[in-house]
């Protein structure tokens, strides 16, 4: 009898788990939207995070070769807020470029703010 009850409790717990996970996911999903406003970029910190950028964006005349050939944009001195929104758009896939999507997916909101502060103008 006791065993049966334990099995039932276990079963209930297993059934409830996904609900808990969903609830947790929802609260996590809401968090970055708040952070978005809060994160202030630090140019010094950005300097240490630019290893994925320099190979293209710090080479004058460099062209991306895939999926089509054109110059990678000049980003040094661009508006910092624009650089932030561009990286977010790549991360959200509102903007599609395989290399930039891959790079942006590895960046946190803090990384994005720091890189924008480093490359951008105020």
């Amino acid at each position: 009898m006791i065993e049966k009850r334990m099995v039932a409790a276990g079963f209930a717990a297993v059934m409830l788990l996904p609900c808990l996970a969903v609830a947790q996911g929802a609260s996590q999903g809401a968090a970055p939207a708040q952070d978005q406003q809060a994160v202030q970029g630090n140019a010094e910190a950005g300097r240490a995070k630019n290893s994925m950028c320099i190979g293209c964006h710090e080479i004058p005349g460099y062209k991306s070769s895939f999926p089509s050939v054109y110059h990678v944009p000049r980003i040094i001195g661009q508006n910092a807020r624009y650089i932030e929104s561009a990286l977010r758009e790549y991360r959200n896939r509102d903007r599609n470029h395989p290399t930039m999507t891959a790079v942006a997916e590895g960046l946190s909101d803090r990384d994005i703010a720091d890189l924008a502060a480093y490359y951008g103008s105020k």
Partner: protein, 139 residues
């Protein structure tokens, strides 16, 4: 000479260098036709910075600034001195919804292929402050 012929056999691409006398007469009309076609096609491809300036003042300047370097909102990009082919690529992406932005989508859709080429050429021609020289970082 014999060595050259051997190379031609090994690498067909070399055959372009074979003595001209054998192939030239037959190809001449073809070459002429290509040259004529290119002469007609080129003006259509050419960009006009002046036409670009006109279009830009109508469509772009209100947000990106008259000089292309002073956008009215810091989240909008500076365009002056940006690469022409990148600007063209961006506008085409907006036009065809590959890049999703409600404002830019609406601005880019009515632009023709020639408008896009001209506007991109115009902004690329302006003196700007964007750069890809590392020594400009932090200035």
């Amino acid at each position: 000479m014999r060595r050259l012929e051997m190379n031609m056999r090994a690498f067909p691409a070399f055959s372009a260098f074979r003595p001209l006398s054998r192939t030239t007469p037959r190809l001449l009309p073809l070459v002429g036709a290509f040259a004529a076609a290119a002469a007609f096609a080129l003006p259509a491809q050419a960009q006009s910075i002046d036409a670009g300036r006109q279009k830009a003042e109508e469509v772009c300047a209100a947000c990106h600034g008259k000089d292309g370097n002073t956008p009215i909102d810091p989240s909008y990009p500076k365009l002056a001195g940006q690469y022409q082919d990148y600007l063209e690529h961006s506008l085409l992406d907006y036009k065809h919804d590959r890049r999703k932005n409600p404002i830019m989508g609406a601005q880019a859709k009515p632009l023709s292929r020639a408008d896009i080429r001209n506007v991109a050429a115009y902004y690329a021609s302006l003196p700007g402050t964007v750069s890809n020289h590392a020594d400009r970082i932090g200035r």
